[in-house]
């Protein structure tokens, strides 16, 4: 079968990858229908996010059940499903304390598209427990967004927004991730959202989406505001979510926090980079900085939220600038994203 893999020279299309087989009696072979390209795939491409050499990429996956092993009872052939790439074992310390991504048998150590073969392929093998059924009115493309949606919900678990009416929320970065978060928070009624987006072109794109209760600003304008308000202890944000991975943005993100504010790092910073953090300031103002990269025990919740958003007409992709590609065209997909011709790309391996 065809599959897009990671190698030391970069990504490549393998036309003769073996079709996967059952691994145990709860295996399911999936006919992959849609897989999203994520910001992390770009980090992988650059060698910043470690993956297994030769792994098939693609971790935002949906498809149809193709074949089931003898022990599978919950799913049947042809069933439409979304795939949880980082399910934990449910039986170790980390799984028991809601940190399943650090499970040594599951979690990030089994990550489809990073450690184990993922969805940039015609077929993939998963465990039946990784599957979540999806309704017919949710397209495969939308269903593949379960993975980013569940990690978005996880951010809100580790750095909660305490009060939807009053908390001031800042999203740094208006790419795919920032927009998803903006869309969701706006949908659930968070009233004070600001988004920083450097490029004027993207700022206009977001402004045209006409979100209510959302302010879109440039990084320079927000920094001026911060400097102007240096004597005002009430200025700032209660929640800052960084989607950029940019060192300077993160260092500023801490400064933009109000007392007791929380900075969640969702974008992946570069390796070996540190920020200088004022430790007295952090303590006396009870600020918090936390990593928030994965999904943890909330994949099903992610699917449910996606269904709700879709049925409320809040996942209308045309507004975002979205396109479908074949596996053969994967390079064009990455390039179109890099050139900012589109905001989101889906690979449909079965076409």
């Amino acid at each position: 079968m065809k599959a897009v893999k990671y190698g030391s020279d970069g990504l490549y299309l393998d036309r003769n990858a073996p079709i996967p087989e059952f691994e145990h009696d709860h295996s399911v072979i999936i006919r992959v229908k849609a897989v999203g390209i994520c910001g992390t795939d770009f980090d992988i491409k650059k060698g910043e996010f470690p993956v297994v050499d030769g792994v098939i990429l693609g971790h935002e996956i949906s498809g149809a059940v193709h074949k089931i092993a003898s022990g599978v009872t919950d799913f049947k052939q042809g069933q439409r499903v979304a795939i949880n790439g980082t399910r934990g074992c449910t039986n170790c310390y980390f799984c028991n304390v809601n940190k399943s991504m650090f499970c040594s048998k599951g979690g990030a150590s089994k990550y489809y598209g990073v450690v184990r073969n993922g969805g940039f392929a015609e077929y993939m093998v998963v465990d039946d427990a990784d599957l979540c059924a999806i309704p017919d009115d949710l397209s495969f493309q939308k269903a593949s967004m379960s993975e980013p949606m569940s990690s978005l919900l996880h951010i809100l678990d580790v750095a909660p927004i305490d009060d939807k009416e009053q908390s001031k929320v800042l999203i740094i970065g208006g790419g795919i991730a920032g927009l998803n978060i903006l869309n969701y928070l706006n949908f659930i009624g968070v009233k004070n959202i600001t988004l920083i987006q450097r490029s004027a072109h993207r700022r206009k794109l977001i402004a045209d989406m006409k979100f209510k209760n959302v302010t879109v600003v440039s990084d320079t304008d927000l920094h001026s505001e911060y400097l102007q308000n240096s004597g005002n202890p009430g200025w700032g944000f209660d929640n800052v979510i960084d989607c950029s991975g940019n060192t300077e943005a993160i260092a500023n993100g801490i400064k933009y926090l109000r007392p007791a504010g929380k900075l969640a790092l969702y974008g992946l910073p570069s390796k070996d980079v540190s920020i200088n953090m004022n430790i007295y300031d952090l303590m006396v103002l009870e600020k918090c900085i936390t990593g928030a990269l994965y999904q943890v025990n909330n994949f099903k919740e992610g699917v449910d939220v996606l269904i709700e958003l879709s049925r409320a007409g809040r996942l209308d992709f045309d507004n975002y600038g979205v396109k479908d590609y074949t596996l053969d065209d994967y390079e064009k997909a990455f390039n179109d994203l890099t050139d900012r011709k589109i905001i989101k790309a889906f690979i449909l391996p079965s076409t």
Binding site: Y93, F102, D163, V273, Y280
Partner: protein, 351 residues
């Protein structure tokens, strides 16, 4: 009356002719002071590294006797012995509304007696009725002094958000009064995997002599050796670290001791304008948290209850803990003995 004050030119000094405070509002209470603790932060104030307005009377760990009450005061009567909460919020801002009055820009440290307002290292102090809590006769005034630090430690413990008292691995950095008081309390509430790191041998010996069952006492050197021995072991480390040293170098080193998903709470007061380097990719990948903890948000009442329980279960024999009492006239010895680490806490007896 006598009062211990600080100003930038004179340093720490005793003023003899301070006017005795009078009732101003109908909810005021005037206390005749019995005991005031000397805290590590008071030491920082006396050395100029923790800023307070000039000529503020120090003392925020307090026990006194009700001397005069305003016309609307109902919760205490003249002659009762009470513990005194030194700070509160303004009750009418976002922070007070969301239960974090300790970072209230109009309350918090600004109205903290002993820092922003005159404190209790004096013969009398003026507070409000909501600030005083009755204490039982079997609790000594010196034991009551330990209520305020426990109220702040309860905040740090809450922010630590420990996942499992039985399984989470907890490290306390520093065996001064902060670390020791926390250790004593956590052992009492049956946190099972406690490690305390203390540099000096004499302080380690004091803790070891008390024979806590579930506590490992280590030096900074041996802990670093452990870390280096386990540098390949992803599972080595601590789920929760609470810094009680206020030493940026100790904090910087101990960051490495966090396990994946670990939470680091900065409780000890570092000097103003000190920084640590935070490796942000590691923080993101391993979803680590660093949070500040400052003062106490509504934990004072719980601290009163817990101090009474600790005392009644024989866990607050101050002679065992390197805590020494001084007359207020001998305040300089108290500060000096704390500075030279002869003691872990000094208590000024005032009456």
């Amino acid at each position: 009356m006598k009062a211990i004050k600080y100003n930038k030119t004179r340093g720490l000094y005793m003023e003899h002719n301070v006017s005795i405070p009078e009732i101003v509002n109908s909810n005021n209470v005037i206390l005749k002071m019995l005991a005031a603790g000397i805290c590590g932060t008071d030491l920082s104030v006396s050395k100029g590294s923790f800023p307070v307005p000039d000529d503020t009377t120090l003392g925020h760990e307090l026990c006194g006797v009700v001397h005069k009450i305003g016309s609307k005061v109902k919760n205490v009567t003249v002659g009762q012995r009470v513990a005194i909460r030194p700070t509160k919020g303004c009750n009418s801002c976002y922070f007070c509304d969301t239960n974090i009055p300790n970072v209230c820009p109009k309350g918090g440290i600004i109205k903290d007696r002993g820092f922003g307002l005159d404190g209790g290292m004096a013969q009398y102090i003026l507070v409000d009725d909501v600030d005083v809590h009755q204490i039982p006769d079997d609790l000594t005034s010196s034991q009551a002094v330990l209520i305020e630090p426990l109220s702040c430690l309860l905040n740090a413990w809450k922010i630590s958000n420990v996942a499992s008292k039985d399984h989470s691995k907890v490290l306390i950095l520093g065996g001064g009064i902060g670390g020791f008081h926390l250790l004593n309390y956590l052992d009492f509430i049956e946190v099972k995997n406690l490690t305390i790191c203390q540099r000096s041998e004499d302080r380690r010996k004091r803790i070891e002599k008390l024979g806590y069952k579930n506590v490992t006492v280590v030096s900074d050197v041996s802990l670093q050796e452990e870390y280096l021995k386990h540098s390949e072991d992803e599972l080595w480390g601590f789920d929760n670290i609470i810094d009680c040293t206020g030493n940026p170098d100790a904090i910087q080193t101990a960051y490495n001791y966090l396990r994946p998903g670990g939470r680091f709470v900065i409780y000890g007061c570092c000097p103003a304008n000190t920084f640590i380097k935070v490796p942000i990719q590691d923080l993101t990948f391993k979803e680590k948290h660093i949070s500040g903890s400052f003062l106490q948000p509504y934990t004072y009442g719980a601290a009163v209850e817990n101090i009474v329980k600790l005392a009644r279960s024989g866990r607050l024999k101050l002679s065992n803990y390197g805590v020494q009492e001084y007359s207020i006239d001998d305040y300089k010895s108290g500060f000096a003995d704390l500075e030279s680490r002869k003691i872990i806490k000094g208590i000024l007896l005032i009456d």
